[in-house]
């Protein structure tokens, strides 16, 4: 009997501890950016888990930072990295403590596949503190998979084609000059 009471108490303490950190089982629902944008009112104020590629850069302002996380088809591999065309980018802006944002090393760009990050925070459909913006007020961030450099090698046939076209231009320009001066 005493064992059951102790176990029950331990369970309750663990549950409330995990609840307060916001990472409890079933507390933060996973959401995609498409879902959030399509049904903002339903998700307003809900704690969500959001995962995607961190792109661009972190803009640090005071103790907080703005990042942008894209959970589209290019989050794991951009077109330069070989992904197939699959529509537009899609993601969410995240406003979170600067020290959380500092965990991100690589931000997605033309030459970089950004860190894949998982953010936990509250979704706001029209945040009053941030001028009515739709965003996630992040409380924590973890890097799920580090980013990498993307190779976009120069294809030799392009150089040849450009050279041929340039030569052709030269030829036509020469012919044009002769024509206009002869007149």
């Amino acid at each position: 009997m005493r064992l059951r009471v102790v176990l029950a108490l331990a369970f309750l303490m663990a549950a409330s501890f995990l609840n307060s950190t916001g990472t409890a089982f079933g507390d933060a629902r996973t959401a995609s950016s498409t879902e959030l944008v399509e049904h903002p009112a339903e998700w307003d104020g809900v704690t969500v888990t959001f995962e995607g590629e961190a792109i661009g850069e972190a803009m640090v302002r005071g103790g907080h930072a703005w990042i942008h996380v894209n959970d589209d088809a290019y989050a794991r591999a951009s077109i330069e990295a070989g992904a197939k065309l699959a529509g537009f980018n899609s993601g969410m802006p995240v406003y979170l403590p600067a020290e959380e944002a500092e965990k991100i090393e690589d931000f997605g760009s033309h030459t970089v596949q950004g860190d894949l990050v998982r953010v936990v925070g509250v979704f706001r459909a029209a945040s009053p503190e941030h001028g009515g913006e739709m965003l996630i007020e992040g409380s924590s961030l973890e890097v799920v998979r580090g980013g990498s450099a993307i190779e976009d090698p120069l294809k030799p046939w392009k150089v040849w084609l450009a050279a041929v076209l340039a030569a052709a231009c030269g030829g036509v320009l020469f012919a044009l000059r002769r024509l206009t001066h002869a007149a």
């Binding site: 942008h68 589209d72 976009d152 392009k158 084609l161 450009a162 036509v172």
Partner: protein
């Protein structure tokens, strides 16, 4: 009796169009240099191909169609129409080579959208695009806003023949200076002045907001180009949302409203006639319709209850309305939010703003404030006529740079163009409905394209039916040309077939 154009006529058109195509090619040197400086070798090669390819087309046209015959009135408009069409096709070369487009039509769409300063786009994975490609998007926008003919007039022409027809064929009719080439250069001076001031302020703001220096400067320049040409392209898929800053938004608003003003107005203000800002019929028309529509939108948004207080409601509501009214197309809300948060009422009001558009002889689109103002004055004049004694003579006056009297021919042409615009809006909206989209979304997207605004409600995606994309491309082009040049081209083709 329709006179069939002679082979010499075709040659004149071909030769001058060729010169303008060369201009498009030369513009590609800017993204080429950007890519070389930043080590984006593959992108640089794309632009090398594009640059020399365009130059080759332009040079070949000049060689094949070389003639000593001078450019006459009847050639000018057709030349502009052909130059814009061909220019669009050669401008797609770097886009097509980038791998970011689902089809050639998508690439054509984006070039037309850039040149016409619309701002709708079909590029995929924009957030991973090279800086060179981004530069090309904005150079297209800036060049298109200035007018590719204006550019050609500045650099490539020595001024012979009916150059005014080329200039006017692009939708501008104001002559700032006696010589059209001088006018083109004057437009440049005004734009470059704004470029230096605007891009600097935006770059500095970007730095303060926590952007890395290279990004702050590049984005500052690009956002200026997108704003001043009332374009609507932005470097990231988040558009203006990216910056999360009311200061950045405010600067953009100032820049894009300035860009939507008549160049003749800029000219007058520059030379000391600041009172013109308040007296001009276009400024008054714009301020009046913007105020009415903004208040109406505020009412509609207050009803939805999505924005908790008036400051937030103003910041979001006003930004979208002024972006629509100047036909810029920058957004601080998600495209889909027009549908999921704003609703049909606020969307209709935004559509009205886009449809009216901004000033004539500017980078903006739509029916234009001058026409709306003149139609209003004409209507009020009619009312006065009916209530006045039969023998009285009513004159309608307006102020546009100078005090002027509104006569019958002007009223007639203004009404005609306005009706053609409204017809085009209806046709594009119906096309969207036939393609299977809800009517308010089809109308929103269609009017956005036809007025060269660029706000999207999420309808346009790479998987939109090709036919509808084609309709939008045509609408963007017709809207930017204000129909005349395109109709002239159609008339030319008709004359070839049916003339004697």
């Amino acid at each position: 009796m329709i006179l069939r154009p002679t082979w010499d006529d075709h040659k004149v058109v071909g030769m001058y169009a060729g010169k303008i195509i060369m201009g498009i090619g030369l513009l590609m040197s800017l993204p080429l240099i950007t890519s070389l400086v930043l080590g984006e070798w593959d992108t640089a090669a794309d632009f090398g191909i594009g640059l020399f390819g365009s130059l080759l087309v332009g040079l070949l046209m000049q060689l094949l169609f070389w003639t000593r015959k001078r450019l006459a009135r009847r050639h000018g408009l057709v030349t502009v129409a052909i130059a814009w069409l061909l220019g669009t096709f050669v401008g797609t070369i770097p886009f097509a080579l980038s791998g970011h487009y689902g089809s050639y039509l998508d690439a054509v769409f984006d070039v037309m959208s850039g040149l016409t300063t619309t701002g709708l786009y079909l590029i995929q994975d924009l957030d991973h695009v090279s800086n060179g490609l981004s530069m090309w998007r904005f150079v297209l926008t800036f060049a298109g806003g200035q007018g590719i003919v204006v550019i050609a007039l500045t650099f490539l022409f020595k001024g012979a023949g009916a150059i005014y027809q080329l200039y006017a064929g692009e939708g501008k009719e104001e002559q700032l200076l006696p010589n059209v080439v001088q006018t083109a250069r004057a437009i440049w001076v005004i734009s470059l002045g704004w470029l230096v001031a605007g891009a600097s302020l935006l770059s500095i703001t970007g730095l303060v907001l926590g952007m890395r220096p290279a990004r702050a400067v590049l984005h500052g320049i690009w956002m200026f180009m997108g704003a001043f040409s009332t374009g609507g392209f932005a470097p990231q898929s988040y558009n203006v949302i990216w910056f999360h800053s009311s200061v950045y938004e405010a600067l953009c608003v100032i820049i894009f409203v300035a860009g939507s003003l008549n160049f003749a107005l800029h000219w007058a203000v520059w030379h000391g006639w600041r009172g013109e800002l308040l007296r001009n019929i276009e400024t008054r028309s714009f301020a009046a319709t913007l105020a009415v529509l903004s208040v109406a939108a505020a009412w509609a948004l207050a009803d939805t209850g999505i924005y908790g207080d008036w400051v937030v409601l103003f910041r979001k509501g006003f930004y979208q309305l002024v972006s629509a009214h100047t036909t810029t197309g920058f957004g601080t809300i998600y495209s889909r939010a027009f549908v999921t948060q704003w609703g049909p009422g606020a969307m209709l009001i935004t559509m009205a703003a886009m449809a009216i558009g901004a000033s004539s002889c500017s980078t903006a689109g739509g029916i234009k404030g001058l026409r709306v103002g003149l139609i209003t004055k004409s209507f009020l004049g009619e009312v006065r006529r009916t209530i006045s004694p039969e023998s009285s003579r009513i004159t309608v006056r307006y102020h546009h740079i100078r005090d002027q009297v509104l006569g019958e021919p002007v009223t007639r042409s203004v009404l005609t163009i306005a009706v053609i615009f409204l017809t085009m809006y209806a046709v594009v909206a119906v096309a969207g409905v036939f393609a299977g989209y809800p009517v308010e979304q089809a109308a929103f997207e269609g009017i956005s394209a036809a007025s060269n605004s660029g706000l999207s409600c999420g309808l346009l995606t790479p998987s939109t039916p090709d036919l509808l994309k084609g309709v939008y491309v045509l609408a963007m082009w017709l809207g930017r040309m204000e129909f005349i040049a395109v109709l002239a081209l159609a008339g030319w083709a008709w004359a070839v077939v049916r003339g004697r």
